[in-house]
Symmetry: C2
Subunit: 128 residues, 2 copies
DNA sequence: ATAGCTGCAAAATGTTTGCGCGAAA
DNA sequence: TTTCGCGCAAACATTTTGCAGCTAT
């Protein structure tokens, strides 16, 4: 990867954000410093930075589309990165964390969006 | 809300999915039973079902766009539903859960995508 | 010199919406 | 009969990509 003024500016600008901006928001900000920059360049560089592990996308299932679930009660998901299987996981596993957050930060959790990825038991067998 | 054959079929079809399909995947499946149905109807009804709490969207930050984060190490987020503040949360809080999943299901967690929503300490003061 | 990166614009993808017709209450 | 939901197509929003020229190495 070669140096580019645009990429550096995008990275620095993102670092200075308090929130987690969208590509568009970042573009608007970056444009103040470098008016001729294009939105395509912002997207291209964000993708490169994610690939190189310098930044991350904030979302759970890396999917361009929204996915739906007929289970209407709150629950979380276990995704196997090898076979792709998605298993439901009861929220009760996280209640101890909720309690800790209440005690420590006085933060009252009302909603969980949790996706844990890793290797399921079947796949860890065939791994070796 | 009035009854509709389309909505019922969409809901039933979603329930029969093992995975968490996209609107498009659902559309393809539903079309087998009801060839004249339109993709717009599928989207419309999924939105209605989410509103009514019959189904859920599987994702963390409800945003049409991807959001980026310059912190490249893994961490999770606490979002206050009242003031909108997003705080970073260290992953160490979840290690006990990881351990439990290993013991119970032999699932090895390698990646966490966690967003907890609720009320932050500042907002719970002004709540009363 | 030569990859790689840029700006631009077009295309691709995912989702929503206005309209006029048909179906549920 | 009066709404509400439908199918269709167009609009919209987000993201990717082909191209021709520029830039870091």
């Amino acid at each position: 990867m070669r140096y580019s003024r645009q990429r550096e500016l995008i990275f620095e600008t993102l670092k200075n954000f308090e929130t987690h901006p969208t590509a568009e928001q970042l573009y608007i900000q970056v444009k103040q410093e470098m008016p001729q920059i294009s939105l395509g360049t912002v997207y291209r560089n964000l993708n490169i930075l994610v690939e190189k592990g310098k930044i991350r996308k904030v979302d759970s299932l890396e999917s361009s589309s929204v996915r739906y679930d007929a289970r209407s009660d709150e629950h979380s998901h276990l995704v196997c990165t090898k076979c792709g299987t998605v298993k439901d996981l009861d929220l009760s596993y996280f209640y101890s964390v909720d309690k800790l957050l209440k005690e420590k930060f006085d933060f009252t959790v009302t909603e969980h969006n949790i996706v844990l990825k890793g290797l399921c038991s079947d796949c860890s067998l065939t791994e070796k």
